[in-house]
Amino acid sequence: MLDFPALVRRHHEMVWRYLRLLGCDAAQSDDLTQETFLAVLQKPFEQRDDTSTAAYLRTVARHLFLMAVRAARCRPAFEDLDAADRVFERILADAAFIDALRECVEELPDPRTRRILDLRYGSGSSGAEIAARLELKEAHVNTLVARAKESLRACVEGKVGA
């Protein structure tokens, strides 16, 4: 029998990240993640291993995303969704990558960079808003974010060998 709560807790963040990558904003991803799991509830599937379950959920999510695009609720971030799928597999599918990234953020030596990342990715503040709040130039904020992303990518690869 389908253990729905366990299924949701295990995979909801993965589905959310997938929808974000395809082009949804955070709120749209929330909505379509819910719809993905409710669709699974209405038409249960045979759960095999974790990988095939995740692949099935992504198939459902992608179908719902394309329906949302047709209804003008979402806009694709990229023309080539298959290329996005491949990047997703490499970077976003594995929770270990996210856990390692979380560690890397905590290990950043510069507290100001951590603060900027928190404002950008935790609160959703724009570069201009962060610049005004921290009394920096917007271009400088954007440079710090870009550098941080590069160094975090290297840090994560060192931890998980991505």
Partner: protein, 112 residues
């Protein structure tokens, strides 16, 4: 990094910085009532709630679409509708009176 990889890193950072456990709770809570809750009862409760709002000065025509699964939902629905009309007079006391008139609403609370 190309465009897709850069966006993927942004999303990974969103996930890393902000945990989304509350989303799982919402999905599970939203799914639970559907397995047992008869749509007809939900529809009846919405009708009763809309009527109560209308009687207290709101308008059924302004009511937002909603699925009612608990007494809290009824209260939110009624208050929202009242606010749309600038009334906002549907409070806890009105809700208690509504439950008195519609025992099925109490059933909602027990099961929800």
């Amino acid at each position: 990094m190309n465009d897709i990889e850069s966006r993927a890193m942004d999303i990974a950072l969103e996930s890393a910085v902000r945990r989304r456990a509350e989303l799982a709770d919402r999905i599970i809570a939203r799914a639970r009532p559907r397995s047992w809750f008869a749509p007809a009862v939900a529809a009846a409760c919405v009708t009763v709630a809309f009527s109560a709002v209308w009687l207290s000065g709101g308008s059924r025509g302004d009511a937002p679409p909603a699925v009612v699964r608990s007494l809290d939902d009824v209260l939110v629905l009624a208050r929202t509708t009242g606010r749309v009309r600038g009334e906002g007079r549907f409070g806890d006391r009105e809700l208690a009176a509504l439950v008195e008139r519609c025992p099925r609403l109490r059933e909602l609370d027990v099961r929800g």
